[in-house]
Symmetry: none
Subunit: 216 residues, 4 copies
C-alpha cells in the first residue's frame, strides 16, 4: 500500500484531546472492555449520513451499541447464496454471536440515498439504473417501498419512502430464519424509528396503529 497519507493534523489533535480526557477518565473501563469483550445490549442499523449519529441521540457509551451503518439503513432479504453480504454478516454476528436483546433500524429525514431511489424509480436518474452503479443496485432493496408510495401526492412520496426504508428493512429482517425464531421466542425485539434532523424529532413504528408515531 504505497499511497496512504498521514492523518490530517486536526484529527491527530482531536485524538490526543480524547486520549487525555475521555480515555484517561475511563481507562479502567476500556481495559475491561478489551479484556472481557463487548456485551452490547442493542444493535442499531442506521445511515452513514454525517448528520445522524445514534451514539449522540441515544447517549450511547462505549460498549452499549453494536452499530452497522450503510446507505439508507437498509437490510436486504435473506440470501444465503455464498456471496458477500456485509449487512447480513453484521446482523448474524450481533444476533447469534453477541446475542443482542434489541435490533433498532433508524431512518432519517433528508436522506440522500432515499432521494436517489425515488429519482431512479420515477425515471429521473438513468445513471442509477446502470449495472455498474453501486448506489443504484443497493437502493434496489427499497424498490418494494417505492411501489407503496407512488400513488401518494408527490410532496409526500419522499418522506413516506424514508419511512419505507425502515419498514422494508424490518420486513426483510423477518426473512432471516434466526431472527424470526428469536423474535417469536421473545428473545429479540425489533424496533423501527425515524429521526427528523431539522426538528430533532423521533418517531417510532407502532405495529398496532400501523403507523409511525411521535416518541413521548
Amino acid at each position: 500500500m504505497k499511497l496512504a497519507r498521514p492523518l490530517p493534523h486536526y484529527l491527530v489533535q482531536r485524538y490526543h484531546g480524547w486520549k487525555a480526557t475521555t480515555f484517561a477518565e475511563n481507562r479502567n473501563w476500556f481495559r475491561r472492555l478489551a479484556e472481557d469483550g463487548q456485551r452490547p445490549r442493542a444493535m442499531v442499523i442506521t445511515c452513514c449520513d454525517s448528520r445522524v449519529h445514534a451514539t449522540a441521540i441515544f447517549g450511547a457509551e462505549s460498549g452499549e451499541f453494536f452499530i452497522h451503518r450503510n446507505i439508507a439503513n437498509l437490510v436486504p432479504p435473506y440470501a444465503p447464496d455464498g456471496e458477500q453480504h456485509g449487512t447480513s454478516a453484521a446482523i448474524e454476528y450481533a444476533v447469534n454471536a453477541l446475542k443482542v436483546a434489541h435490533l433498532v433500524v433508524m431512518g432519517h429525514t433528508n436522506c440522500g440515498g432515499v432521494q436517489g431511489c425515488h429519482a431512479m424509480c420515477s425515471g429521473h436518474a438513468p445513471e442509477l439504473e446502470e449495472k455498474t452503479s453501486f448506489v443504484g443496485r443497493w437502493m434496489d432493496i427499497l424498490r418494494p417501498g417505492y411501489d407503496r408510495v407512488v400513488d401518494f401526492p408527490l410532496e409526500e412520496q419522499i418522506p413516506e419512502l424514508e419511512r419505507q426504508a425502515v419498514l422494508v428493512s424490518l420486513e426483510n429482517l423477518m426473512t432471516f430464519p434466526f431472527i424470526r425464531e428469536k423474535v417469536e421466542a421473545e428473545e429479540l425485539a425489533l424496533h423501527g424509528v425515524m429521526h427528523d434532523i431539522a426538528a430533532g424529532g423521533l418517531e417510532q413504528y407502532d405495529s398496532a396503529a400501523g403507523a409511525f408515531v411521535q416518541v413521548l
Copy 2:
C-alpha cells in the same frame, strides 16, 4: 410489519435528554444541515464493534464524518457485477456524490471478526466455511491478509491480521477506478489507522516505512 416493539424506555429518556440539551443548543446548525444538506470532510470506514466509536475518538460533530460501519472494517474489491454491495455503495456515494477529501479505514484490536477469520483460515472454525455463513463469506475478503501472516509466530498472527484488515481494505479501495483516479489527482487522500482499545492507542500506516507507526 406486525412485530415492531416500542423502544425500551431508557432510550426514550436519553433521547429526550439529548433533545433538551445537545439539540436545543444547536438547533440552528441542525436546521442548516437539514436544509443545505451534509458536506462531510471525511468518510470513515470502521467496525460495528460497540467499543470503537470514531465520533468519540476524533471528536466528530454532526456533519463532519460520513461513517460506514461493517464487520472488521473491510472493503471488498471493485466488482461492478450488478449485485448488492453495501460497502461499495457507501464509498461511491461518499466519493462521487459528497466528494469527501479523506477516506479513513480504522481497524482495532480485539476484533471478533478478525479472530473468526483467523480461526476459519487456520482450520479451526468449519462452521464459518459453510456457504450459508454470512460472517464467513464476509471474512473471505481478508483471506489474502491471512496468507501474509500465516508464517508469523502464532501470538503475532491475530494482531498482524487486524492490521491486514486495514491494509487489504486500502488495497481494495485502489481497485475502484474512481478512487484511484482521485487519489492520483490528489483530490482524495486515503488513510489507514489502528486503534488499541485497552491502551487508547492510535497507529497510522506510514507508506514510506511500510509499517504502522504510533500517531504523535
Copy 3:
C-alpha cells in the same frame, strides 16, 4: 483529598439531560421536598446489585422510598454495643425519625453475596473465612440461614439461601425493640419479597403459608 478525579463525561451529559427534562418538569416538587423534608411511605432494604433497582420495579418517585442497599439485603441482629452499624442506623432513622409505615426487605436471584456465603459455609471459600474478609464477615449474618438449607438437594440450596437472606433479615428486624413494638402496635408493617431477575418475577413471603408465594 488529592486524588479525586473529574466525573466521566458521559455521566455529566446524562446529568444535564436529567436536569433539562425530569428536573425541569418537577422543579416545584423538588423544591418542596427540599424545603419541607422527605416523608417516605416505605423503607426498602435491598442489595447493591446493579441489576435490581427497587425504584424501577416499584415505580418509585422522588420522596417515596427510603432505600438502604447492602450486600445481600441483610439486617444484622440488634446489637446496641456502641459500634458502627450502618444498617441498624438506617433502620433506626427510617422507623423512629421518619416513621415509615412499611419496611420491605427485597432479595433477588443470582445474588453474588449469597453464592459467596454458600461457598464459605460449605467449605469451598477459605478466603472468605479470614478475619480480614469484609464480605465474609458480613455474610456471617446469613449463617443461620445456611444451617436451614444444608439438607436440601444441592441444586435447591442457593435459591433457598437467597430466600433465607430475606427471612433471616426479617427475623433480625424483630430483635430491634422499637421495631417489635411498632409491628405489634400495627404502626409498622414488615414485608419480605424475592425478585427473579431473569423472569422479572416477584414473590412475597406469606406468613400463614410459611412460604414465598407469587405476587398476584
Copy 4:
C-alpha cells in the same frame, strides 16, 4: 417469621405495570444479565434519602451501577477487625470481585443525617451521644469533618459538613489498601459529587482547586 404482611396493593399494581412494560421491553437483556452476571462500570455510594436516586440523576440502567446506600453516604476507615462492616463489604465486593472502574461518593443538601451529626457535635442532641444510638454511632464517622467546619459562620456549617461527608468518605476510602493500590495504579478512579435537591444542581470535588465546583 410470623409477622410478614402482604405488600400494599399499590406496590403490587406498580410491579405488574413494570413487568408489562419495562420488563417486557427488555426481557432478553434481563435474561442475559441474569445468566452472564453483572458487570457494572461504577460503584456509587449515596444516601438512603428518598429524594436522591443516583439511577435517575445519571440515567443508570439495569447493570450499570453497583449502589450502596447508607445514612449520609459515609465510608468508615479501614478496620479489618473481624466485625460486621456492611459498607466495607460492599466496597470490597465492588472493587475486588466486580472490578468497577469508578467509585463515586455522592452527597446531597438537606441531609438529615448530617444535620443530626451537627446537632450532636455541637452539643444539641444528647440522645445521639448515647451508646445505644445507632444513628449517633454511625455519624461518629463524620466527627473529623465537624472539627473542620466548626469555626465557619453558623449558617455555613451544615452545607460545609455535607461536603465533608463526601470528603471524609473519600479520605477513608484511601485507607483501604486495595483501594489505594488500584487508585495509584490508575485502575480505579474516585469521584466526589454533591447534589443540590432544590436546585437540581451538581458539584464535583476538584482536587487541584481543593474545592467543590459546579459540573459544566
